[in-house]
Amino acid sequence: MLINTVLLFLQSALPMFIIISLLLLRFTSASKSLFTYKNIFIISSLAIAFVFLLNQYMERISQLFDGKGTELIFSLGLILIYFCSAFLFLLNNENRFINVKKILALVIFLLVFSLNGSYFILYLTSYWTQSLPFESLFIGIILAVGICISFAILFYFLLQYSDAHIHIKTSCYFLLFFALGQLMQSIALLQQVDILPLNDSLWNSTNFIAENTELGQLLRVLLGYETTPSVMQLIIYLTAFIVPIFISKSQYFAWLAYGEKS
């Protein structure tokens, strides 16, 4: 149960820690006033409240829409994460639209936290009801938190270095890739309940990087990696990646958003 707890916690918590690293990099030193103890406390409390609220109603949600409720609600949440992240990607001017960026970041954080956290709370509930040893659970969570924090810190400093020395928008692109990963998950959920069609997969890269390995799971969260993508998934992935980049490079958008002329 120890290993299982570590794996399940990693699966739920890794996206949360990664998005914290990515969102922290979106705000410059000029807006560091966002990160006061009071704000952090309020945001954390909100996030925990959302997790427990979603967990409380998840059973009822699962029975909505002829048993498709969970997939529909979660996929809408994941799609919203993508659009908020795409807007945040577009508003990359450091000192403009700070309030809009704060709201987008808050929405993204709360959605990622609640959608992923609710699954882990379900596991905890199941664990308690079966009166399994508490020590395995406790140690498993501590180990998993340690792994997540270590990775998030390394990831943050790596992106910060890359922004400064390699390409100024590295962290922006990684935020977009993260959002693409969430979008891919929403497509999988909608295919699961027959709302979106499922076509034959284009390739199978299981022999290369299997999805059930640690690297596969990490790439799934970071980049939206799929071992057997369908045509629809590939088209949506490419479109969802190219369109924000095209818009951000468009002179019309620069003029619209920042009043900059070519």
Partner: protein, 138 residues
């Protein structure tokens, strides 16, 4: 002006999403039933025809939550106690596809075996049921 533009974009995207969902068409799918009792799947092996989308109905007879998970099928779904959940799988090519209960991965395991059913073989659905010993509703 940028706020109005963003608002307009959001409304446009919402309309498109609603438009997308309005085209939901659920064809009749062959159903296969899977029972979860004492953290074991019954049957542990399900045989389905190749290249067809099927409906898998999972009944959780236990008093604890379980999460049906399959990397091979790219499916995961939480199944609440004493309730059933539905997922659609396929069309799949011939082969074996493993699934497991994520909360009890060592014990709660099973697989879906996809077989080619040629038109001249005329295997009836009842014969397929008897072969795998599961409930099957058309």
């Amino acid at each position: 002006m940028i706020k109005n533009h963003l608002k307009g974009c959001s409304v446009f995207l919402l309309i498109n999403l609603l438009f997308l969902f309005s085209f939901i068409v659920e064809a009749k799918r062959t159903e296969y039933h899977l029972a979860l009792k004492k953290h074991l799947f019954y049957p542990a092996k399900i045989i389905i025809p190749a290249n067809k989308k099927v409906k898998l109905v999972i009944h959780n007879h236990d008093k604890s939550v379980e999460k049906f998970d399959s990397f091979d099928l790219n499916r995961e779904k939480v199944i609440f106690p004493m309730q059933k959940s539905i997922i659609f799988i396929g069309p799949l090519s011939v082969g074996e596809y493993h699934f497991f209960g994520e909360y009890h991965p060592n014990n709660t395991r099973g697989k879906i075996v996809v077989v080619e059913i040629k038109s001249n073989q005329a295997i009836s659905s009842n014969a397929l049921n008897q072969k795998q010993g599961s409930l099957h509703v058309n």
